[in-house]
Symmetry: C2
Subunit: 320 residues, 2 copies
Amino acid sequence: MTTVSRAFNEKAIIKAETRKNILAIADKIGYVPNFNARGLVTKKKFIIGVFFSSLHDGTSTSFFSAAIGSLYDALPDNYLLSINDIKRVNSFEQLVQNRVDGVLVVSQSDDDDEFIYQVKSSGIPLVVINRYISDREICNIASDDFAGLKDGVDYIASRGHKRIGMIEGIAGFTSSVQRRQGFDQSVISNNLTPVEAAIKIGDYSSKTGQEKMAEILALPKEQQPTCVVCGNDDTAIGALRACYLNGVKVPDDISLIGFDDIFYSSVSIPSLTTIRKPIGQMAGLGIKDLIAIINGEKVDIANRVKIQPQLVVRESVAKL
Amino acid sequence: MTTVSRAFNEKAIIKAETRKNILAIADKIGYVPNFNARGLVTKKKFIIGVFFSSLHDGTSTSFFSAAIGSLYDALPDNYLLSINDIKRVNSFEQLVQNRVDGVLVVSQSDDDDEFIYQVKSSGIPLVVINRYISDREICNIASDDFAGLKDGVDYIASRGHKRIGMIEGIAGFTSSVQRRQGFDQSVISNNLTPVEAAIKIGDYSSKTGQEKMAEILALPKEQQPTCVVCGNDDTAIGALRACYLNGVKVPDDISLIGFDDIFYSSVSIPSLTTIRKPIGQMAGLGIKDLIAIINGEKVDIANRVKIQPQLVVRESVAKL
DNA sequence: CTGTTAGCGCCTTCAC
DNA sequence: GTGAAGGCGCTAACAG
């Protein structure tokens, strides 16, 4: 019995031949170790909990799918992924403490902090991706949105734009703040003119993007910016639609740039110049770190990983 | 010990007051039953396996997110969802037999049949949604794509269109066949003219939608259809882009209709008239049936549930 | 390197 | 209505 157990446990000491024989027989009779029994002894569940800020709103569908795809690519065999919604965690003990070996938070908002600290203080292995966490005791992998947006606006400047506007993300979100700072930084270094009346607070949704863009287009012609920076692609897609409804041509009459590089930004009309957020990389590295922590390996948690986003040039920014 | 166990099991016989007391104490000391131990005895895993045809290609991201959202809405507490990719099931025993209480297949293609029958023959509770399965021993919930497409083409006819084309879905997929039949049916009953040279085989992707639409637009003006029916919204979004690149205005110069009602069809330029596929309903009913089967309740498996899709009128079909 | 023993935490008998 | 005993299938500790 023990020998069979050892045959199925990688690190166990067992003669190679014995293992081979056992595995062969197991395969023949269709034997597979029982996870419940194994877990009862080892206190493991072989399940990773993945928690999104929200499965319903806020999370762009492309973002969600891309994240899950990459998560699976990096996940060891025999681990299961339990996808969850932070807002729907009724019983922390029941859903988290007692059912998963580790937690990966795909965080989009400060609102998640309560949950994150609950996990942290309960001692469950934890990795937070997608949003910068200042607490250096939490393993964190984020994208450098500041640099990303700065690159984007630098590109706009290089195309000859001077007067620019912006439709920001949700007020208070780390990503919104960082993107705005990248915007400001590039405005300064390129000596651009931010158009006050064309800088709006949005909420990362297409609907609001459309509304805010309509407001910008309603400004007197001479007060309008030549390019509007959108907090994300969903916002830009809404903005695109506002232009369409107002008979304004993109990029001929006004230029637009997004952030994220969701799938539909490549097929929108016109296709969207944007900044690609490395969601796949973040997810992959996140899982790898989390598994390492679970296995008790040393991970340099204090090392704030920042992955560089990448400018994707398509059709929505005109050369002036 | 036994009494505590009973307190946590709904159907157990126990004095209401005793249960209340136990639950209160459990709550205070943070006790939660251990799932592994419980499962070891009851042979349950409290995990539902959800299997998609493919997490990577083929599955529209909106479709995927919508399905998962609805799945969770219908899932009993204390159940976990394990989202998987049929193509990535390496070890059936390890990933399925030994880890989940039931399987929900969100099927998009005949290719899934092998997996579906493997589940069926292993006796694991099974529900297949999203694609029609003729085997009446399998619980099946699908949408009536035939009726959906017929409604769509009827609508087109009511707008005065006569000459129509089509970019079909992936050859061989049940959904492609049914949609095509709905198309044919409406063509006959409305006495429309299907334009042979404008009926193309696509693959449900935007890329191919764009290519095929470009071919249609390359036809001599007088041979072109006034409306093209697209196999799904992704195809239509690609087609929209082909029109844009060729300077053809939708719906002024040519009309387009999609299928699915993915999120981006509401913000595309122009927004897409389409047929809403009831993915949420299918997922919800599917989980409900699956749980019932798991719990040994009687479910009328032979009853082929067909949910009606719904026409969503937006901007892409002109009135002639 | 392999086998023996004990026990993980719960639920299911069966007594009371 | 409640409690005592046994065992689910596995792995850890120990002996050989």
